[in-house]
């Protein structure tokens, strides 16, 4: 499965587990308006590390905080695993 599809399906999983209603997963979706809170994102990042073998948030010295879903996915697509 592609990185993008893995991320989208994990977002759906985390939202279902945490009983959060999420907005349609469009490229320009603002993350803080997605329906997921910090704990959901923390869990998502942990799950993606298990599945993709990468954690772009701690991979580099320069930390960049993505604001949209597109930026979030891009961060993973640019991170070598």
């Amino acid at each position: 499965m592609s990185i993008r599809l893995t991320i989208l399906s994990q977002i759906e999983n985390v939202a279902a587990e945490q009983k959060k209603k999420i907005a349609p997963l469009r490229e320009d979706l603002i993350l803080t308006e997605s329906g997921l809170d910090s704990l959901c994102f923390a869990i998502l990042v942990a799950r993606l590390e298990d599945e993709l073998g990468a954690d772009p948030f701690t991979a580099s010295e320069e930390v960049y905080f993505p604001k949209t879903l597109g930026e979030f996915i891009g961060l993973y697509e640019q991170t070598p695993n």
């Binding site: 803080t32 910090s38 930390v63």
Partner: protein
């Protein structure tokens, strides 16, 4: 319960003395000057005098109003965070000998039957001079190893110990940290004592709406955990505010978050404070770097710091005094130091936080003892043993993971089904942040000769 009466100033005296306090919630405003002559417990104030009272309101606003009115009137105020389950509330109520509950929502389940005092619309006070004044004990729950919350006892003067006199220009405060947790309570008390304005977040309010209100009010000082700040930086709203003072506390402030905040708020003083419910406010670091100057370890000021076996010990007039309802637990050692369980490493002239001593896990500023989670998992009839530990996480600092040894390790049931049942059990019984994010099934879990679980060190 009763406690010695006192002449010491209570919170309302500070509010009236400085005036200027203004609390803004979503659609509601409270001005300090209006509080003195009014009550939200009309006709029932005398029933609360000298009692042990649980602040069980859902909203920060109602909690703030009740705290100002009840300090000096109640003998004990127990401040519960909003995410406590009825079971945990019942434990707090029993341990603290609660005899009255303040609530802003009819029908809320507190897990125990006690008289409820609803927060009503303010009306004039008529008993001002008749009620005795108590030296109210302030109590904050924290995570405990037994599965029940531990209750940490403070005094108002200790909680106020780190608050300096009001600056020339009064700040306009905002806090991401709920005022019913130590870090947020500090900001609320700061606003009360210095006569400042404080913008409080509403339960149902989105981050964007809260920040928009903060921007409209011209917030100059704002406080949160590193996790709160990461959330703001992952939103498009960070640029709406232009604070002069940005404060981080409750978790390790790493270089990444300090640098990111400096980039977004180049004009702000970015300070990370070391504070905890038990140790009080230790110190504040304002040089923009992670960790703290080693010189603080040798200083003999208001706060004394020591490293013992790598763990930071703190002695000051700002620490808590004792645990309530637990004679077996000592908060202060014989010399009056609190062991914070925070592991510190000195490198040259700088000290760095290396995490928590094995055991306590810090999830976005909320501390969790693994035993509390293990106890719930172990209640499942097909679980023999479990071990809960921390997993580092760039968003929340730590997350909780669990290893489980099934009762029938040789012929386990479909582990997917058992996993789902354990998750369900945890979700029903624990606050969200305490539910493990992953469960790993293992054949066995090591036990030390002492009979304790082998835990990895921080």
């Amino acid at each position: 319960m009763n406690r010695p009466q006192t002449d010491a100033p209570c919170l309302l005296d500070f509010v009236m003395h400085r005036s200027g306090l203004r609390l803004d919630a979503y659609g509601a405003t409270l001005r300090g000057g209006e509080i003195g002559a009014s009550t939200i417990f009309p006709g029932r104030r005398s029933e609360l005098a000298g009692r042990s009272v649980l602040i069980g309101a859902d909203s920060q606003f109602a909690s703030a109003r009740a705290l100002i009115e009840l300090d000096g009137l109640a003998a004990r105020l127990v401040i519960c965070p909003p995410d406590f389950s009825p079971r945990r509330l019942a434990s707090v109520i029993a341990q603290a000998g609660i005899d009255a509950i303040v609530s802003d929502r009819a029908g809320k389940d507190f897990g125990a039957d006690r008289p409820i005092y609803p927060c009503e619309d303010p009306s004039p006070v008529d008993d001002e001079n008749r009620l005795p004044r108590f030296a109210t004990q302030w109590v904050l729950p924290t995570s405990g190893t037994t599965g029940a919350p531990k209750l940490v006892a403070h005094r108002l003067e200790r909680l106020l110990g780190a608050i300096k006199s009001a600056p020339e220009q009064r700040p306009i405060w905002a806090t991401f940290y709920d005022i019913r947790r130590y870090g947020g309570l500090q900001i609320f008390l700061r606003a009360c004592v210095t006569g400042a304005r404080l913008i409080l977040c509403d339960r149902e309010e989105s981050l964007g709406d809260y920040i928009a209100r903060c921007a409209e009010a011209g917030v100059s000082h704002i406080s949160g955990t590193p996790s709160h700040w990461r959330r703001l930086l992952m939103s498009p709203h960070a640029g709406l505010i232009n604070p002069k003072y940005v404060r981080l506390s409750g978790e390790i402030a790493d270089r990444a978050i300090l640098d990111a905040l400096r980039a977004v708020y180049p004009a702000a003083l970015i300070a990370h404070a070391y504070a905890s419910t038990e140790a009080g406010v230790g110190f504040e670091v304002t040089d923009g770097r992670e960790g703290f100057p080693a010189a603080l370890l040798a200083a003999n000021g208001e706060v004394e710091l020591r490293l013992c076996d790598g763990s930071l010990h703190v002695r000051s007039k700002r620490t808590a005094t004792s645990y309530i309802g637990r004679d077996d637990l000592k908060l202060l050692d014989d010399e009056g130091f609190v062991d914070t369980d925070d592991i510190v490493e000195q490198r040259g002239d700088r000290c760095f936080f290396k995490g928590r001593r094995a055991g306590v896990i810090n999830i976005g500023g909320l501390k969790v003892h693994p035993e509390e989670v293990e106890q719930v998992i172990n209640e499942h009839r097909d679980v023999r043993m479990s071990r809960v530990s921390a997993r580092r996480n760039p968003i929340m600092g730590d997350l909780i993971v669990a290893e489980v040894a099934a009762r029938d390790a040789e012929a386990p049931r479909e582990s997917g089904a058992l996993e789902a049942e354990i998750f369900e059990l945890c979700r029903a019984r624990l606050p969200r942040h305490m539910v493990p994010v992953t469960i790993r099934f293992v054949p066995a879990i090591d036990i030390l000769a002492s009979g304790k679980l082998a835990r990895r060190h921080a």
